[in-house]
Protein backbone atom coordinates (compact mmCIF):
# COMPACT_ATOMS: atom_id res chain seq x y z
CA UNK A 1 0.00 0.00 0.00
CA UNK A 2 1.09 3.57 -0.58
CA UNK A 3 0.94 5.47 2.71
CA UNK A 4 1.03 9.25 2.43
CA UNK A 5 1.98 10.23 5.97
CA UNK A 6 3.13 13.80 6.37
CA UNK A 7 1.63 14.65 2.99
CA UNK A 8 1.14 18.37 2.26
CA UNK A 9 -1.88 18.89 0.04
CA UNK A 10 -1.15 22.61 -0.39
CA UNK A 11 2.50 22.19 -1.43
CA UNK A 12 3.84 24.56 -4.08
CA UNK A 13 5.09 21.60 -6.10
CA UNK A 14 1.53 20.46 -6.86
CA UNK A 15 0.49 21.84 -10.24
CA UNK A 16 -2.91 21.32 -11.82
CA UNK A 17 -3.03 22.15 -15.50
CA UNK A 18 -4.72 21.24 -18.74
CA UNK A 19 -2.90 18.78 -20.96
CA UNK A 20 -4.67 18.14 -24.30
CA UNK A 21 -7.85 19.57 -22.74
CA UNK A 22 -7.66 17.02 -19.90
CA UNK A 23 -7.24 18.21 -16.32
CA UNK A 24 -4.00 16.82 -14.96
CA UNK A 25 -2.39 17.05 -11.56
CA UNK A 26 1.38 16.95 -11.27
CA UNK A 27 3.62 16.77 -8.24
CA UNK A 28 1.14 15.21 -5.79
CA UNK A 29 2.54 12.96 -3.08
CA UNK A 30 0.82 9.95 -4.65
CA UNK A 31 2.51 10.61 -7.95
CA UNK A 32 5.97 11.39 -6.56
CA UNK A 33 6.08 8.51 -4.08
CA UNK A 34 4.41 6.31 -6.68
CA UNK A 35 7.31 6.86 -9.04
CA UNK A 36 9.66 5.45 -6.38
CA UNK A 37 7.36 2.43 -6.08
CA UNK A 38 7.81 1.72 -9.79
CA UNK A 39 11.56 1.38 -9.07
CA UNK A 40 11.15 -1.30 -6.40
CA UNK A 41 13.26 -4.48 -6.63
CA UNK A 42 15.49 -2.76 -9.14
CA UNK A 43 19.02 -1.45 -9.48
CA UNK A 44 19.80 2.23 -10.12
CA UNK A 45 23.24 2.68 -11.66
CA UNK A 46 25.52 5.71 -11.50
CA UNK A 47 26.67 6.72 -14.98
CA UNK A 48 28.74 9.59 -16.35
CA UNK A 49 28.10 9.31 -20.11
CA UNK A 50 25.81 7.87 -22.79
CA UNK A 51 27.94 4.76 -23.31
CA UNK A 52 27.66 3.75 -19.64
CA UNK A 53 23.93 4.57 -19.62
CA UNK A 54 23.37 2.19 -22.53
CA UNK A 55 25.31 -0.58 -20.77
CA UNK A 56 23.16 0.00 -17.66
CA UNK A 57 19.92 -0.15 -19.66
CA UNK A 58 21.06 -3.29 -21.47
CA UNK A 59 21.85 -4.94 -18.11
CA UNK A 60 18.34 -4.27 -16.81
CA UNK A 61 18.84 -1.26 -14.55
CA UNK A 62 15.55 0.43 -13.56
CA UNK A 63 17.10 3.89 -13.81
CA UNK A 64 20.40 5.62 -14.39
CA UNK A 65 21.79 8.30 -12.10
CA UNK A 66 23.84 10.91 -13.93
CA UNK A 67 26.92 12.34 -12.24
CA UNK A 68 29.85 14.39 -13.43
CA UNK A 69 32.29 11.95 -11.81
CA UNK A 70 31.73 8.57 -10.14
CA UNK A 71 31.90 8.79 -6.32
CA UNK A 72 35.35 7.17 -6.17
CA UNK A 73 36.65 9.71 -8.69
CA UNK A 74 35.09 12.55 -6.68
CA UNK A 75 36.97 11.19 -3.68
CA UNK A 76 40.27 11.18 -5.59
CA UNK A 77 39.78 14.51 -7.36
CA UNK A 78 38.89 16.52 -4.26
CA UNK A 79 37.72 20.10 -4.77
CA UNK A 80 34.06 20.97 -5.13
CA UNK A 81 31.77 18.38 -6.74
CA UNK A 82 28.72 19.89 -8.47
CA UNK A 83 25.80 18.62 -10.52
CA UNK A 84 26.55 17.08 -13.95
CA UNK A 85 26.54 19.02 -17.24
CA UNK A 86 22.99 19.55 -18.44
CA UNK A 87 24.11 18.74 -22.00
CA UNK A 88 25.25 15.25 -20.89
CA UNK A 89 22.05 14.69 -18.88
CA UNK A 90 19.98 15.58 -21.95
CA UNK A 91 22.06 13.35 -24.21
CA UNK A 92 21.47 10.44 -21.83
CA UNK A 93 17.73 11.20 -21.58
CA UNK A 94 17.56 11.11 -25.38
CA UNK A 95 19.33 7.76 -25.69
CA UNK A 96 17.69 5.54 -23.02
CA UNK A 97 14.06 4.54 -22.38
CA UNK A 98 14.48 3.99 -18.63
CA UNK A 99 14.09 6.91 -16.19
CA UNK A 100 17.03 9.28 -15.72
CA UNK A 101 17.91 10.68 -12.29
CA UNK A 102 20.55 13.28 -11.50
CA UNK A 103 22.33 14.42 -8.35
CA UNK A 104 22.34 17.92 -6.91
CA UNK A 105 24.19 19.32 -3.92
CA UNK A 106 22.58 19.15 -0.47
CA UNK A 107 20.61 22.37 0.13
CA UNK A 108 21.26 23.81 -3.35
CA UNK A 109 17.70 24.76 -4.32
CA UNK A 110 18.54 26.21 -7.70
CA UNK A 111 20.64 23.28 -8.83
CA UNK A 112 17.58 21.16 -8.11
CA UNK A 113 15.35 23.63 -9.99
CA UNK A 114 17.68 23.41 -12.99
CA UNK A 115 17.36 19.62 -12.92
CA UNK A 116 13.57 19.86 -12.59
CA UNK A 117 13.50 22.19 -15.59
CA UNK A 118 15.64 19.65 -17.50
CA UNK A 119 12.79 17.15 -16.87
CA UNK A 120 14.84 14.50 -15.10
CA UNK A 121 12.63 11.81 -13.54
CA UNK A 122 14.06 12.10 -10.05
CA UNK A 123 16.51 14.36 -8.24
CA UNK A 124 19.01 12.94 -5.74
CA UNK A 125 19.99 15.45 -3.06
CA UNK A 126 23.28 13.74 -2.49
CA UNK A 127 26.12 13.75 -0.02
CA UNK A 128 28.46 12.60 -2.81
CA UNK A 129 28.51 16.19 -4.07
CA UNK A 130 29.86 19.00 -1.90
CA UNK A 131 27.03 20.30 0.33
CA UNK A 132 25.89 23.85 -0.41
CA UNK A 133 24.05 24.28 2.90
CA UNK A 134 25.03 22.23 5.93
CA UNK A 135 22.06 23.42 7.98
CA UNK A 136 19.13 23.12 5.59
CA UNK A 137 18.20 20.52 3.07
CA UNK A 138 16.04 21.52 0.11
CA UNK A 139 12.33 22.03 0.96
CA UNK A 140 11.21 19.32 -1.40
CA UNK A 141 7.44 19.94 -1.17
CA UNK A 142 7.98 22.84 -3.56
CA UNK A 143 9.16 20.49 -6.30
CA UNK A 144 7.06 18.76 -8.91
CA UNK A 145 9.89 16.27 -9.53
CA UNK A 146 10.33 13.58 -6.84
CA UNK A 147 13.48 13.82 -4.72
CA UNK A 148 15.46 11.02 -3.03
CA UNK A 149 17.59 11.63 0.06
CA UNK A 150 20.20 9.67 1.96
CA UNK A 151 19.80 8.70 5.63
CA UNK A 152 21.91 6.87 8.21
CA UNK A 153 19.20 6.43 10.82
CA UNK A 154 15.44 6.46 11.20
CA UNK A 155 15.61 10.00 12.62
CA UNK A 156 17.41 11.29 9.53
CA UNK A 157 15.02 9.43 7.21
CA UNK A 158 11.92 10.86 8.91
CA UNK A 159 13.39 14.39 8.89
CA UNK A 160 13.96 14.07 5.14
CA UNK A 161 10.42 12.74 4.60
CA UNK A 162 9.04 15.71 6.52
CA UNK A 163 10.95 17.96 4.14
CA UNK A 164 9.19 16.23 1.25
CA UNK A 165 11.54 13.43 0.18
CA UNK A 166 9.64 10.89 -1.94
CA UNK A 167 12.20 8.13 -1.45
CA UNK A 168 15.01 7.32 0.97
CA UNK A 169 18.28 5.54 0.41
CA UNK A 170 20.16 4.34 3.46
CA UNK A 171 23.67 5.69 3.07
CA UNK A 172 26.82 3.69 2.96
CA UNK A 173 30.16 5.29 2.37
CA UNK A 174 30.18 6.24 -1.33
CA UNK A 175 33.07 5.42 -3.61
CA UNK A 176 34.73 2.88 -1.34
CA UNK A 177 33.60 -0.47 -2.73
CA UNK A 178 33.11 -1.35 0.93
CA UNK A 179 29.57 -2.38 1.81
CA UNK A 180 30.09 -2.39 5.60
CA UNK A 181 28.64 1.08 6.25
CA UNK A 182 25.54 0.41 4.15
CA UNK A 183 24.91 -2.78 6.15
CA UNK A 184 25.40 -0.97 9.47
CA UNK A 185 22.93 1.75 8.56
CA UNK A 186 20.14 -0.43 7.17
CA UNK A 187 20.39 -2.60 10.29
CA UNK A 188 20.24 0.51 12.46
CA UNK A 189 17.11 1.75 10.66
CA UNK A 190 15.48 -1.70 10.95
CA UNK A 191 16.34 -1.85 14.63
CA UNK A 192 14.85 1.58 15.30
CA UNK A 193 11.71 0.65 13.34
CA UNK A 194 11.29 -2.46 15.49
CA UNK A 195 11.73 -0.33 18.62
CA UNK A 196 9.09 2.25 17.73
CA UNK A 197 6.73 -0.47 16.50
CA UNK A 198 6.92 -2.26 19.82
CA UNK A 199 6.35 1.03 21.66
CA UNK A 200 3.31 1.66 19.46
CA UNK A 201 1.99 -1.86 20.04
CA UNK A 202 2.37 -1.40 23.79
CA UNK A 203 0.16 1.71 23.62
CA UNK A 204 2.72 3.93 25.37
CA UNK A 205 2.04 7.21 23.51
CA UNK A 206 4.16 9.20 25.93
CA UNK A 207 7.22 7.22 24.89
CA UNK A 208 6.44 7.96 21.22
CA UNK A 209 6.44 11.67 22.11
CA UNK A 210 9.89 11.16 23.63
CA UNK A 211 11.06 9.48 20.40
CA UNK A 212 9.63 12.33 18.30
CA UNK A 213 11.59 14.85 20.39
CA UNK A 214 14.75 12.78 20.17
CA UNK A 215 14.34 12.40 16.37
CA UNK A 216 13.45 16.11 15.96
CA UNK A 217 10.35 15.26 13.91
CA UNK A 218 6.60 15.62 14.45
CA UNK A 219 4.73 13.18 16.66
CA UNK A 220 2.38 12.41 13.79
CA UNK A 221 5.02 10.93 11.48
CA UNK A 222 6.54 8.87 14.31
CA UNK A 223 3.13 7.45 15.23
CA UNK A 224 2.24 6.64 11.62
CA UNK A 225 5.63 5.05 10.90
CA UNK A 226 5.44 3.03 14.12
CA UNK A 227 1.98 1.79 13.18
CA UNK A 228 3.22 0.79 9.73
CA UNK A 229 6.42 -0.84 11.02
CA UNK A 230 8.44 0.34 8.02
CA UNK A 231 9.46 3.60 6.37
CA UNK A 232 6.44 5.26 4.75
CA UNK A 233 8.39 5.71 1.49
CA UNK A 234 10.43 3.32 -0.66
CA UNK A 235 13.88 2.66 0.81
CA UNK A 236 16.89 1.64 -1.28
CA UNK A 237 20.38 0.75 -0.13
CA UNK A 238 23.36 2.74 -1.37
CA UNK A 239 27.06 3.21 -0.94
CA UNK A 240 29.89 0.74 -1.41
CA UNK A 241 28.02 -2.02 -3.25
CA UNK A 242 30.50 -3.79 -5.54
CA UNK A 243 29.42 -7.42 -6.05
CA UNK A 244 26.20 -9.41 -6.68
CA UNK A 245 26.45 -10.93 -3.20
CA UNK A 246 26.58 -7.40 -1.67
CA UNK A 247 23.35 -6.55 -3.48
CA UNK A 248 21.61 -9.79 -2.49
CA UNK A 249 22.57 -9.34 1.17
CA UNK A 250 21.16 -5.79 1.30
CA UNK A 251 17.93 -6.98 -0.34
CA UNK A 252 17.66 -9.70 2.29
CA UNK A 253 17.85 -6.99 4.99
CA UNK A 254 14.59 -5.56 3.68
CA UNK A 255 15.74 -2.89 1.22
CA UNK A 256 13.36 -2.20 -1.68
CA UNK A 257 16.20 -1.92 -4.19
CA UNK A 258 19.81 -0.95 -4.75
CA UNK A 259 21.84 2.05 -5.87
CA UNK A 260 25.23 1.12 -7.32
CA UNK A 261 27.76 3.87 -7.71
CA UNK A 262 31.41 3.27 -8.43
CA UNK A 263 31.11 -0.51 -8.04
CA UNK A 264 30.16 -1.18 -11.65
CA UNK A 265 31.95 1.30 -13.87
CA UNK A 266 35.13 1.33 -11.80
CA UNK A 267 35.48 -2.41 -12.23
CA UNK A 268 37.21 -3.74 -15.34
CA UNK A 269 34.30 -6.06 -16.15
CA UNK A 270 31.57 -3.38 -16.07
CA UNK A 271 29.14 -5.06 -18.45
CA UNK A 272 29.16 -8.50 -16.80
CA UNK A 273 29.09 -6.92 -13.37
CA UNK A 274 26.07 -4.74 -14.25
CA UNK A 275 24.22 -7.84 -15.49
CA UNK A 276 25.24 -9.86 -12.45
CA UNK A 277 24.18 -7.24 -9.88
CA UNK A 278 20.74 -6.87 -11.50
CA UNK A 279 20.31 -10.65 -11.51
CA UNK A 280 21.32 -10.97 -7.85
CA UNK A 281 18.96 -8.13 -6.85
CA UNK A 282 15.98 -9.66 -8.66
CA UNK A 283 16.60 -13.20 -7.40
CA UNK A 284 18.18 -12.35 -4.03
CA UNK A 285 16.15 -15.06 -2.25
CA UNK A 286 17.28 -17.85 -4.58
CA UNK A 287 20.84 -18.67 -3.61
CA UNK A 288 21.58 -20.69 -6.77
CA UNK A 289 20.79 -17.64 -8.93
CA UNK A 290 22.93 -15.39 -6.72
CA UNK A 291 25.75 -17.89 -7.09
CA UNK A 292 25.30 -17.81 -10.88
CA UNK A 293 25.45 -14.02 -10.72
CA UNK A 294 28.54 -14.05 -8.53
CA UNK A 295 30.17 -16.45 -10.98
CA UNK A 296 29.71 -13.90 -13.77
CA UNK A 297 32.19 -11.52 -12.16
CA UNK A 298 35.90 -11.84 -11.48
CA UNK A 299 37.08 -10.70 -8.06
CA UNK A 300 40.43 -9.71 -9.57
CA UNK A 301 38.59 -7.12 -11.62
CA UNK A 302 36.58 -5.66 -8.72
CA UNK A 303 37.39 -2.12 -7.72
CA UNK A 304 39.98 -1.89 -4.98
CA UNK A 305 38.01 -1.28 -1.79
CA UNK A 306 38.84 1.29 0.88
CA UNK A 307 38.73 0.80 4.63
CA UNK A 308 36.30 3.38 5.99
CA UNK A 309 38.46 3.95 9.09
CA UNK A 310 41.33 5.29 6.99
CA UNK A 311 39.28 7.86 5.09
CA UNK A 312 39.93 11.59 5.41
CA UNK A 313 36.58 12.41 3.82
CA UNK A 314 33.47 10.76 5.23
CA UNK A 315 30.75 11.71 2.75
CA UNK A 316 28.05 9.99 4.81
CA UNK A 317 28.35 12.60 7.60
CA UNK A 318 27.38 15.44 5.27
CA UNK A 319 24.06 17.04 6.12
CA UNK A 320 23.37 14.31 8.68
CA UNK A 321 22.93 16.65 11.64
CA UNK A 322 20.39 18.87 9.88
Amino acid sequence: MLPLYGERTNAKGIISEKLNSVDTLRGSSTLKRGFAHMQKNGVVMDVTNVEQALIAQEAGAVSVMVLDKLPSEVRKAGGVARTASIRIIEEIMDSVTIPVMAKCRIGHVNEALVLQETDVDMIDESEVLTPADELHHIWKWDFTTPVVNGARSLAEALRRIEEGASMIRTKGEPGTGNVAEAITHIKKVNDELRTIKSIYDSGDNQDLVRIAREFKVSYDIVEQTAKLGRLPVVNFAAGGIATPADAAYLMSLGCDGIFVGSGIFNADDAQERANAIVLATTFWNESDKVKEAQKMIDERQSMLGLDVKTLDLRMQDRGGSA
Binding site: H37, Q39, K40, N41, G42, A61, P99, T282, F283
Partner: protein
Protein backbone atom coordinates in the same frame (compact mmCIF):
# COMPACT_ATOMS: atom_id res chain seq x y z
CA UNK B 1 -14.14 -23.53 -8.99
CA UNK B 2 -11.47 -21.42 -7.43
CA UNK B 3 -9.73 -18.55 -9.15
CA UNK B 4 -5.93 -18.56 -9.01
CA UNK B 5 -4.15 -15.36 -9.87
CA UNK B 6 -0.43 -14.78 -10.26
CA UNK B 7 1.60 -11.59 -9.94
CA UNK B 8 4.73 -11.56 -12.10
CA UNK B 9 7.50 -11.06 -9.52
CA UNK B 10 10.43 -9.62 -11.41
CA UNK B 11 10.46 -5.94 -10.61
CA UNK B 12 8.06 -3.20 -9.53
CA UNK B 13 5.22 -2.97 -7.04
CA UNK B 14 4.85 -6.72 -6.46
CA UNK B 15 3.82 -6.74 -2.79
CA UNK B 16 1.21 -3.98 -3.27
CA UNK B 17 -0.39 -5.88 -6.16
CA UNK B 18 -0.58 -9.08 -4.14
CA UNK B 19 -2.06 -7.26 -1.12
CA UNK B 20 -4.62 -5.40 -3.27
CA UNK B 21 -5.79 -8.55 -5.03
CA UNK B 22 -5.95 -10.38 -1.71
CA UNK B 23 -8.11 -7.67 -0.17
CA UNK B 24 -10.34 -7.66 -3.27
CA UNK B 25 -10.78 -11.44 -2.98
CA UNK B 26 -11.67 -11.06 0.69
CA UNK B 27 -14.03 -8.14 0.05
CA UNK B 28 -15.86 -9.97 -2.75
CA UNK B 29 -15.88 -13.13 -0.66
CA UNK B 30 -14.94 -15.34 -3.62
CA UNK B 31 -12.97 -18.55 -3.64
CA UNK B 32 -9.53 -17.55 -4.92
CA UNK B 33 -5.82 -17.24 -4.28
CA UNK B 34 -3.06 -14.91 -5.36
CA UNK B 35 0.60 -15.93 -5.54
CA UNK B 36 3.82 -14.48 -6.84
CA UNK B 37 5.04 -16.25 -9.99
CA UNK B 38 8.35 -16.22 -11.82
CA UNK B 39 8.95 -19.36 -13.84
CA UNK B 40 7.04 -20.60 -16.93
CA UNK B 41 5.89 -23.58 -14.81
CA UNK B 42 4.38 -21.32 -12.16
CA UNK B 43 2.77 -19.09 -14.79
CA UNK B 44 1.10 -22.08 -16.48
CA UNK B 45 -0.55 -22.97 -13.13
CA UNK B 46 -2.49 -19.70 -12.77
CA UNK B 47 -5.79 -18.60 -14.34
CA UNK B 48 -4.69 -15.00 -14.74
CA UNK B 49 -1.39 -13.11 -14.70
CA UNK B 50 -0.90 -9.60 -13.37
CA UNK B 51 2.18 -7.70 -14.55
CA UNK B 52 2.81 -5.08 -11.86
CA UNK B 53 3.74 -1.47 -12.49
CA UNK B 54 7.46 -1.03 -12.80
CA UNK B 55 9.99 -0.35 -15.52
CA UNK B 56 8.78 -2.13 -18.63
CA UNK B 57 12.26 -2.14 -20.18
CA UNK B 58 13.65 -3.89 -17.11
CA UNK B 59 10.81 -6.38 -16.65
CA UNK B 60 10.93 -7.26 -20.35
CA UNK B 61 14.66 -7.81 -20.46
CA UNK B 62 14.86 -9.79 -17.22
CA UNK B 63 11.89 -11.96 -18.20
CA UNK B 64 13.58 -12.83 -21.49
CA UNK B 65 16.97 -13.45 -19.91
CA UNK B 66 15.54 -15.84 -17.33
CA UNK B 67 13.11 -17.71 -19.54
CA UNK B 68 10.03 -16.37 -17.73
CA UNK B 69 8.60 -15.24 -21.04
CA UNK B 70 9.12 -16.80 -24.44
CA UNK B 71 8.51 -15.10 -27.75
Amino acid sequence: MSLNLGVLSIQGDILENILSVQSAINALDIDGTVTSVRTPDEISQVDGLIIPGGESTTIGQLSLANGTLKF
